[in-house]
Amino acid sequence: MTQVKEKERKLTIARAMAESIAMEMREDETVFVMGEDIGELGGVFGNTRGLYTEFGAERIKDTPISETAFIGAAVGAASDGMKPVVELMFVDFFGVCFDAIYNMMAKNTYFSGGEVNVPMVLMTSTGGGYSDGGQHSQCLHATFAHLPGMKVVAPSNAYDAKGLMTAAIRDPNPVIFMFHKSLQGMGWLGTEKEAIVHVPEGTYEVPLGKATITREGTDVTIVGITSGVHHGLKAAKELEQQGVSAEVVDLRSLVPLDRETILESVKKTGRLIVVDEDYHSYGMTAEIIASVAEVGVPMKAPPQRVAYPDIPIPFTPVMEQWALPSAEKIVNAFSKIKETEQ
């Protein structure tokens, strides 16, 4: 046991992302980083810390506040043999640069009949819970997942963050890497401790498009995305005290969506709760429930979703905390399931 403890190396998601990028940069000189404050500062959310010192300003490029230009530039560079990792500081800022993202980055491969690859990673922070207001707190998972031509990943812990980042950089397609601020391990954002896990020193990939079962159970499937996974795990503990065995599925990838893992779990449990901090309507929760519904998995009760209400994210903590998904809401959703069964 003592030996295992010594080998354990707990990292934050921020550190894990930076480590993956650094390792890929050492191996592949076409990998470089662009974005706002990703250089000497190390990224507002810490995910490029140390890179500037090791690789210098040529490969760790601070940009002007010009997301259209530098994401567009990443498309041009990626199409010309480079592998840019670019940061859109807050996903909320997509409004100024979505042409570069979904009209260029996501479509050029298709428009070229597969002849032009766009191997780039767009990393972007998501999520609220720290009263940053409605233009700095959204998740927008479905906004990106909805549009074809880009893969989308969203880790819930540091192990997956490193492996997904490595897989994303090596993938020949554009990948959106969404990291939740409350899981990032930056103390000032409030930190989910369960996201800080052991991360192997060596290189490894977490395959894109593969969900994972974080906790096995038999009575209900809780599918979560980023923060939703942690709410799900907490809810599972509470449900355990009620004698309910909850299985928690961490989606990890939104595109491609691992419907198989979800279906297998729901076939086993017959009950489904989907947890997403993105808006309630038209979101990943709907997509997952529809995916289960359309194959006709026998269910013991109608599925439930725990998501953000269809409102802009309010500032004041009493409102914001009230609106956020939580373990309690998941437990309540399970009670609702039981009620419908009776």
């Binding site: 259209t68 230009a69 530039a73 010309d80 043999g81 009209n103 491969t109 070229s112 009949g113």
Partner: protein
């Protein structure tokens, strides 16, 4: 930087080929669209933006480029694609939506990609610029030769993307040239009604880069100025913004009634058509003969006809091929 006789003839030949191509497309585009005009009908459905009149912008710049250099063009891309050496048969097949098209019919006329000659374009105004800047960055970082050229219309100069890309290219001193094809019209809105400056090239000074204004739709002037800008870029001296006052001889797209044009404008533009003017220059300067001209035209026509035949003879893709090539 004056063009040689050979370069002038190359430019003229490309202009003629481009014009013949557009004239052929114009004719075929109307097949199935009369008497009632329905954009979805005929062998070439969808929007069609012809480049008649804007050929000098294509040839004067592309005369300085080789196939490794990068060009990102606009929604009106045919003339530039031809001058850049895009595979005309496969481009035509793409415009017809055929399987043998450059993307197998997935892109269409606003989305021409030919990686063999580093050509691409986009239907989104101003988005060519960031992409070209990034390709230029790529060459700089990899230490590989090559410059990038972004084409845009004068309307794009009022987009945020324009200003962001100019600033980024200047601050990083990228080997890129931005070429404004100023045809004076953003669909139906006149430049003077939409643009606060008389010359968009003046905006270059805001980004500490040279701004070059070319007042005439003259391939030789474009050649000279573009040559200097491309040489600057190749020498690592940074970007240039070039503005060419060109002519859009046709409508914004086919089917455009052009009622917004002042009376007499189209007739005037036809009078200053750059192709007859170039022919005149060649005969004055190089004793270009009618016989030589006929031979050149014949060759251009054959090139175009072969491309059209290739497109017509090609099969359509299977509908379900639409599901492929989203990812590689």
């Amino acid at each position: 930087m004056t063009p040689t006789q050979e370069q002038e003839i190359w430019m003229y030949q490309n202009m003629v080929t481009s014009r013949f191509f557009e004239e052929a497309i114009e004719k075929i585009y109307m097949e199935g669209k009369t008497p009632a005009f329905n954009m979805a009908k005929g062998p070439i459905p969808g929007e069609m933006h012809l480049s008649n009149g804007q050929e000098p912008c294509a040839v004067g710049v592309c005369a300085h480029l080789n196939k490794d250099d990068i060009v990102v063009s606009t929604h009106r891309p045919h003339h530039v694609a031809i001058a850049k050496g895009v595979d005309l048969k496969r481009m035509t097949a793409e415009i017809f939506g055929k399987k043998s098209g450059l993307s197998g019919g997935r892109g269409g006329h606003m989305h021409i990609f030919d990686p063999n000659v580093n050509f691409s374009c986009s239907g989104i105004i101003g988005e060519s610029m960031g992409v070209a800047a990034g390709a230029a960055l790529s060459r700089k970082m990899q230490g590989k030769p090559g410059v990038a050229v972004a084409y845009l219309g004068e309307g794009a100069a009022n987009q945020g993307a324009f200003h962001e890309a100019l600033n980024l290219a200047a601050v990083w001193k990228l080997p890129v040239v931005f070429v404004i094809e100023d045809n004076a019209w953003g669909i139906s809105v006149a430049k003077k009604a939409s643009t606060a400056v008389k010359h968009n090239s003046d905006r270059a000074s805001a980004y500490s880069m040279p701004g070059v204004h070319i007042p005439d739709n003259d391939p030789v002037q474009v050649f000279e100025k573009a040559g200097e800008a491309i040489e600057r870029a190749r020498n690592g001296e940074g970007p240039t913004l070039i503005e060419i006052e060109t002519s859009r001889l046709a409508g914004h797209f086919m089917g455009d009634a052009e009622a917004y044009r002042p009376a007499g404008e189209k007739e005037h533009l036809a009078e200053i058509d750059p192709i007859p003017a170039f022919k005149k220059r060649l005969s004055e300067r190089y004793q270009w003969t009618e016989r030589e001209d006929q031979a050149l035209r014949e060759q251009a026509r054959e090139t175009v006809n072969a491309a059209i035949k290739y497109a017509r003879d090609s099969d359509y893709p299977a509908p379900e091929e639409a599901l492929d090539k989203v990812f590689v």
